[in-house]
């Protein structure tokens, strides 16, 4: 489905990603993890041609993404469901219209829109907010609207950049269940996340990235081992503070 071949993308002196070579199979469910600023969002943006790589080639199915003309980009994006880290909801449209918009751009009929949108809103648990505008929603609710918009067209590929960052554990798990369901229907899922417990419990393939390079690629992996070493250190320091205070 997705093939990165020696891809490098830097922002001036900042490293985005560096020499990344990776392949994600059709129908897979992949977690992309890594510390803040390690290049995860850059990876995602490259797939959607929001950014152009400095070097290397990116393939989506058999499509050479770099070679797409400006006219072909909308088609690429329409065939992919995307949950952006910053939601990117249209501020002038209601929740319903935001989700409907994704269907309108693929020229679905108004009838189909009126039938499917409420279903999806229900699925992510925000059907009661259909007529609200994004700025009238809590962060978690906005995130769920973004998820609804991404999945409404049953895309072959769903890319989610931190889709549970603003959700409480319960809702987060519900969303994960939803994603797993969608994955089982055949959709390839690439999910960027920091949620250690989710990654650990799901036992899916985990690609770990650090400073723009892939440092680990585990089928059935877990979030990462490094933090186990540091946590006691932290608790110890917390202890030191406590002692000082007492």
């Amino acid at each position: 489905m997705i093939t990165f071949d020696n891809v490098t993308k830097s922002y001036g002196t900042n490293i985005g990603i560096q020499d990344v070579t990776v392949k994600i199979e059709k129908g897979g469910f992949v977690f992309l993890v890594g510390p803040s600023g390690s290049g995860k969002s850059t990876f995602v943006k490259l797939i959607l041609k929001e950014l152009t790589p400095d070097k290397g080639s990116i393939k989506l199915n058999d499509l050479e993404v770099n070679r797409l003309s400006n006219r072909q980009i909308p088609k690429l994006r329409r065939s992919t469901g995307i949950v952006f880290q910053d939601f990117r909801l249209l501020p002038q449209k209601t929740v319903f219209e935001n989700v409907a918009f994704a269907m309108e751009i693929v020229h679905m009929s108004q009838r189909a829109i009126r039938r499917q949108v409420p279903q999806v809103l229900n699925l992510v648990g925000i059907s009661s907010k259909a007529t609200k505008y994004p700025n009238e929603l809590s962060a978690g609710e906005q995130q769920r609207v973004a998820i609804a918009r991404a999945i409404i067209n049953s895309p072959a590929l769903l890319i989610a950049d931190e889709p549970t960052g603003n959700l409480d554990p319960d809702t987060a798990w519900e969303i994960m269940r939803l994603l797993e369901q969608i994955n089982h229907r055949g959709t390839t899922i690439l999910m960027v996340t920091h949620a250690k417990d989710i990654v650990d419990k799901m036992e899916k393939r985990v690609i770990a990235i650090d400073k723009g390079r892939i440092v680990r690629d585990d089928a059935n992996g877990c979030y990462g081992a490094y933090e186990d070493e540091k946590l006691p250190g932290f608790l110890q320091m917390g202890g030191v503070f406590n002692n000082n205070a007492e």
């Binding site: 088609k75 995307i82 909801l89 249209l90």
Partner: protein
């Protein structure tokens, strides 16, 4: 396709309504610029009318005949002149008639001429009226080829001056109107650019979600056109109202002073509606397309 245009229209109306502040702002700017243009249009149309009337008063060429020229010879000239392009009227005037005219003209001072009646120093003459002032020169040139003419009199200096002044006014007005159109386009496209700039994020999100350029442009375009239409109608309304009030107020005085009526309101409205609609729509449409380009091309 039809469906998608219907959709775009609905979107445009919604957008325009939800962006009330912006839409109203753009509308105000376009209306303001059209008002200025309209004002100038009115000035130009009326100045033209006045100058046309003024020109009419200098359309006479006087041809003084030699005393020895017979009536028959002058009749031949007259017939020839009448056939000329640009001559609307040509008549024979005897010395007696000329003197009578002078007397009328002098009014109170006519007694000065009393002594002259018997030995009338005035010659017989031909009075020629030209239809277009610009052709008077050609007529005079032709006249000079005739025999039996003592002198040709027409208000060459006045006419030349008048032609020059009206020419200046016309050229000046064209320059000013051109200038105003350019300024309007700058101001309005700026306004629209700002409107679009303020919605940069909205446009970029649409792109990220996979909307094609025309899908994004559609509603903006229609919104621009709608704003253009509304502005055009509003400004025609305002201009017509103001102009109507002005004609009512000073029209009669103008008539007395310059012996021309002002251009009637209806004449203006009909022309302005079309000019303004064309301007408003093209400004609105071009404005939105041009100012969106930089967001869409990336």
């Amino acid at each position: 396709m039809l469906n998608s245009w219907k959709c775009a229209f609905k979107q445009a109306f919604k957008q325009a309504f939800r962006n009330r502040a912006m839409s109203v702002a753009s509308m105000f700017s376009i209306t303001a610029m059209l008002l200025i243009l309209g004002l100038f249009f009115i000035l130009v149309v009326n100045v033209n009318m006045v100058s046309e009337t003024a020109k009419k008063q200098f359309d006479t060429i006087q041809v003084f005949l030699l005393d020895e020229t017979t009536y028959e010879e002058s009749s031949v000239m007259l017939a020839d002149l009448k056939r000329m392009d640009g001559v609307s009227e040509a008549t024979y005037q005897t010395a007696k008639e000329a003197m009578d005219k002078w007397k009328v003209k002098w009014g109170d001072n006519a007694y000065l001429l009393d002594g002259l009646e018997d030995e009338n120093p005035l010659p017989n003459s031909l009075i020629i009226k030209v239809s277009e002032l610009e052709k008077a020169d050609a007529t005079v040139t032709r006249l000079k080829t005739y025999d039996g003419i003592e002198d040709i009199k027409y208000y060459k200096d006045t006419v030349d001056q008048l032609l020059k002044i009206t020419g200046f006014i016309q050229v000046g007005a064209m320059i000013v109107i051109l200038f105003l159109v350019i300024v309007s386009v700058i101001v309005v496209s700026n306004t629209i650019k700002l409107t679009v700039l303020a919605r940069e994020r909205e446009i970029s999100i649409m792109k990220y979600v996979g909307a094609t350029n025309w899908f994004i442009r559609g509603p903006f375009l229609i919104e621009g056109i709608l704003i253009g239409i509304v502005s055009a109608l509003v400004s025609v309304g305002i201009i017509s109202f103001i102009y109507y009030k002005i004609t009512e107020l000073i029209g009669p005085e103008i008539f007395i002073m310059l012996s021309t009526t002002m251009v009637p309101v209806e004449f203006l409205i009909i022309r302005l509606v079309w000019i303004f609609l064309a301007l408003g729509i093209s400004i609105g449409a071009c404005g939105s397309i041009v100012s969106m380009r930089r967001f869409l091309d990336t």
